[in-house]
Amino acid sequence: MFLTFITFLPIIGALFLAFFPKENEGAIKQTALAVAAADFLLSLFLWTNFDSSTHKMQFELNTSWIESWGINYHIGLDGISLLLYVMTTFLTLICVIASWDVKKHIREYMMAMLALSTGMLGVFISLDLFIFYVFWEFQLVPMYIIVGVWGGPRRIYAAVKFFIYTAVGSLLMLVAIIWIYFHVKETTGVATADILFITDNISAPLDIQKWLWMAFFLAFAIKVPMFPFHTWLPDAHVEAPTAGSVILAGVLLKMGTYGFLRFNLPFFPQASYDFMPFVAWLSIIGIVYGALVSMVQEDLKKLVAYSSVSHLGFVMLGIFALNEYGIQGALIQNINHGISTGALFLLVGVIYDRRHTRLIKEFGGLSKQMPVYAVCFMIVALSSIGLPGMNGFVGEFLVLLGIFQVNGLWAACATSGVILAACYILWMFQRVMFLELNNPKNMELKDLNVRELITVIPLLVLIFWIGLYPKPFMKTFDASVNHLVSRVSPDNFRPTKDHQEDGGHHASLMTKTELAKLSQRLQKTSHN
């Protein structure tokens, strides 16, 4: 029940807000803030009570919803969803604070924000395919409204494009879901859409597996977005208000990668293995292509949007390395991208609020006028290019390490993204922050105010925290990833003889190094 409460608290708050008089902006904002803050604190409680030693679902609730169809209200969290869940409440809180100065229809804005939060949280906890689909489609609506009402000049175009593009992808997924439902009913005799049950019992022949895999793939690949399904993203980001961009980058895109981990991999391990080169190459193209296109953007938000395509390429690559390094790296990179890119959008929003433009050529020399802003921006920029000691590096390195185990060439191609990232970020930084302050419109710019600092500083803390000591984060999904890998590991599908040799060799190697490590540790401790 607790999990249900946290998930629905925001939308209850939103309904509550509907009864507030429109004029009472202060009360509306404070209530929204209180709801978001309470939700975040409660979700932290989930984290502290989370048992990270098991891959099993926790805080589970399973009650019948539509009995005749076997649809249950089944929810729960495991290591793969926990951090995404907490990040959603966290970024919602940040976004409510960041939207303090919204002038237009503040009540409706906050309502949409809170409703969006429930929609996203629901996606991460659903353990029933139909519930999942309901939440998956539901969160589109508030986002559509946020972009369409509070967005920039081309907001209607962007909102419609965002909505239809995503919905089209989801429709195929719906078809696949229905197929699976009937298939499972046929083979096991149980009419259910329960994700855990299906994961254990699905046994479609390989060619059908592949079709189903592709249906899910399309829905999630659009959401991620993977190259070449990414063109809705720059439009949506550019037109969305600041908080909308933060949520979009921070959470909505993660729903795509989450989908791969929750559905494509465990449902169709063999198909996932067969499609691995295909996904890997798309990801690599995404990494390089996103970085290159990002480099020549003139609009700051578009630049960040294309950099997202590049970063999410890393996440996808890690997932489809199908080993522990890659998937753990992908999961932490999910979080990192939410933090770094979220912070970048917040910071771009800061100067947009002041100047009402995001064109790079309008700026220059800002660090003289806004030193605190410049420092924050620099830290976030460096985190985004994966400087070791900051969060981006941990994820990127694990992803690359994971893919290197599979194919050295892929790893080399993907690593070139590291160079390109430095190019586009530093070049942008130079043109915005350095050089002479010669645009008279920038002479009077004010540095970050307290409210803006409150939104940025937690993200900066996380950047260093994850960069230097990611263990509290990474240990939450350790067991779940192990379990997932044991299911999807390529070793399961290679010809048996090969498999034995390979596995045996690897095992002996591992024990050898582990022994060496252990003995060395012992030496160290005895010596100290």
Binding site: L435, Y469, K517
Partner: protein
């Protein structure tokens, strides 16, 4: 135990940096200076304590490791935030904290007029901390934090005058070129983990002879990748182009980062991985060749530049070329020896040039100097001493270290490497004395409105100390008495490598794989240390250095009209003066095509092809819907027509 203090060594500068960064503007310049230099001093003193602690280690133990926490991991991969202390680390620690402290003190004087004094020292301290992390990390990734960290600080400090476009461009260029090297370094680390299942230095180096086949594919690729990483950081061909531009930063930065410490990180890394390089003879040839080529190429460019700092920058590139050459022939001790002496004399030279620039109000063009030795005697004499050291005049430090490199280039390499090295030595003596003569001797060409003056004590004292070190630094490696080479004995535990043992394992592994092992017997012939040859070579190179100095004297003091005669209108000279056009070449082969391709990708591929398809699909559906609308006209007669047509078609199909 004293060794437990190890982790404090990089921590002090970090704390200094944080204090100065956050509160620097409030606490005033004096406090900022004291905190910055003080933290370096503390770091230096702690290094001494750690050294004492190291000496007290029990017999037979050469490495001390201190794991502070587990950084991150996944599956069986795990990387510690751990430090290690061994002889090599200790040498580097003293260089970084010692020379670093001296340069910090100097910078207090040099930067005193700056408004962003605190910002400078926050970066400067942060750099020192990152550099210490680089040399003290006990695994490849921790080294990589320092590796990228120093690159990042170098980026900040090159772009310190961020309102100048040239400074920003130089900073960005340095970062990106370094990233190319880092890219290779990262791949090497992944490859190493793939083979060893660990990235801990001591474990990898220990297991290497047993896991890698001598001259095999794996070790060759790994070492080549590592070496590419080193060329980025240590400014070697082909990634050296960022270093001369990096002179846009304040002079203390050039002294500390772009001469004494950061740029030698590549050399340090190669020596740290010496076991791997020893197993890869092909890579060694590449390393030695690159080093020799860089040494001579940079020296030729150095002869043609007029900006005092750029001459020194090319000289740095050239001298690091020597170190890399030494690594390439397996003379790691010589490489570290030259690294240390170079840190002394090059830091002194850069600080001296800073003193000159300070004294004539920011002028850097040597054509507008001259005759300065009377105005700034301390700067002149210290500069002269360091110049003699770099030129290789006995008994100054540079003479011994350079000779050791050259001796090994001949003995362990071949006569071509030696020939390139000795030619570069000739050029070095020439261009360095060209610099001294143009700056300090002859007629003054200084703008008459400027009154040159000597720098304050806080700046000249560091010069004197460094000049002193440049003079006596050779003690570390006086080679004449066999077995008395202090540095060699000191580094022996790190560099120890049993080739016979490795070859035996390689043969075994090859046999197991069913392959034939080539004959490696000739590799095991011990090489005699030829004392007389070394003495002869020393005398010879001293003569070469003197020849260079005399030539410079003739050209720039005796017959000042000669240089123009030789250079005017010569296409060869202009080519060299334009740095062989390498910058332009890179610009037209890498930078411009990439940017143009990106534009093309964006405008044509992204906007037209991909998004066009998406919009096109939407449009087609819209068009189809419009066609379908015709049928829903709302007129009863149309519907009646459709019913009739449908009925008839149905009948036709049925019958």
């Amino acid at each position: 135990m004293l060794l437990k203090l190890t982790c404090l060594v990089p921590l002090f500068p970090l704390i200094g940096s944080i204090i100065n960064g956050f509160f620097g503007l409030r606490i005033g310049k004096n406090a900022v200076g004291i905190i910055a230099a003080g933290s370096m001093a503390l770091s230096f003193l702690t290094s001494i304590l750690v050294y004492v602690g190291y000496l007290m280690l029990p017999e037979g133990q050469h490495v001390f490791e201190q794991v502070v926490w587990t950084w991150f991991g996944a599956g069986d991969f795990s990387v510690d935030f751990g430090f290690q202390v061994d002889p090599l680390t200790l040498v580097m620690m003293f260089v970084v904290t010692g020379v670093g402290f001296i340069i910090h003190v100097y910078a207090i004087g040099y930067m005193h007029e700056e408004y962003s004094f605190y910002r400078f020292f926050a970066y400067f301290n942060l750099f020192a901390s990152a550099m210490l992390l680089l040399i003290m990390g006990n695994n490849f990734l921790l080294m990589f934090i320092g590796w990228e960290g120093v690159g990042c600080c170098s980026y900040f400090l090159i772009g310190y005058y961020f309102e100048k476009k040239s400074a920003c461009d130089a900073g960005t260029k340095a970062f990106i070129v370094n990233r190319v090297g880092d890219f290779a370094f990262l791949l090497a680390v992944m490859y190493i983990f793939n083979i060893f299942g660990t990235i801990d230095f001591s474990e990898v180096m220990h297991a290497a002879p047993e896991k890698l086949i001598y001259a095999g594919e794996a070790v060759t690729i790994i070492t080549l990748l590592l070496f590419i990483g080193a060329t980025g950081k240590s400014a070697q061909i082909p990634l050296y182009t960022w270093l001369p531009d990096a002179m846009e930063g304040p002079t203390p930065v050039s002294a500390l980062i772009h001469a004494a410490t950061m740029v030698t990180a590549g050399v340090y890394m190669i020596v740290r991985c010496s076991v791997l390089f020893n197993l890869a003879p092909m890579t060694m040839m590449v390393v030695a060749g690159t080093g020799a080529a860089t040494a001579i190429m940079a020296a030729t460019i150095g002869m043609t530049q007029f900006d005092i700092k750029r001459v020194l920058a090319y000289s740095t590139v050239s001298q690091i070329g020597y170190m890399i050459l030494a690594c390439g022939v397996g003379a790691y001790t010589a490489a570290i020896f030259h690294l240390v002496t170079h840190a002394f004399f090059k830091a002194c030279l850069f600080l001296g040039s800073g003193s000159v620039i300070h004294g004539i109000h920011g002028e850097q063009d040597m054509r507008k100097m001259g005759g300065l030795k009377n105005y700034m005697p301390v700067t002149y004499w210290t500069f002269l001493v360091s110049t003699l050291a770099i030129a290789g005049i006995p008994p100054l430090s540079g003479f011994f270290s350079k000779d050791e490199v050259l001796y090994h280039a001949l003995m362990d390499g071949n006569i071509i490497f030696w020939g390139m090295g000795i030619s570069a030595a000739l050029l070095t003596a020439f261009y360095m004395f060209r610099l001294v003569f143009m700056t300090f001797h002859g007629e003054s060409r200084v703008d008459p409105h400027i009154h040159p003056h000597e720098s304050p004590k806080v700046m000249t004292m560091p010069l004197v100390i460094l000049a002193g070190l440049a003079t006596i630094g050779g003690i570390l490696g006086i080679p004449l008495f066999h077995g008395w080479h202090i540095l060699h004995n000191w580094l022996e535990p790190v560099l120890h490598f049993d080739l016979a043992h490795a070859l035996e394992h390689s043969e075994h592994m090859l046999h197991e794989a069913g392959r034939h092992a080539p004959s490696w017997a000739h590799l095991l012939n011990p090489k005699e240390h030829n004392l007389w040859l070394e003495i002869f070579l020393m005398a010879f190179s001293a003569c070469v250095a003197i020849t260079g100095i005399v030539a410079a004297y003739i050209f720039y003091i005796k017959r000042p009209d000669l240089p123009d005669k030789f250079t005017k209108g010569q296409w060869g000279f202009e080519l060299v003066q334009n740095k062989y056009g390498v910058d332009e070449l890179y610009d037209s082969t890498f930078v411009k095509p990439t940017v143009e391709a990106s534009h093309l990708l964006w405008k044509e591929c992204d906007a037209k092809a991909i998004d066009g398809t998406v919009i096109g699909v939407a449009k087609i559906i819209g068009w189809l819907s419009k066609q379908a609308r015709i049928f829903q006209s709302g007129f009863v007669r149309n519907y009646a027509l459709f019913i009739a047509v449908g009925f008839i078609s149905l009948l036709l199909i049925m019958f």
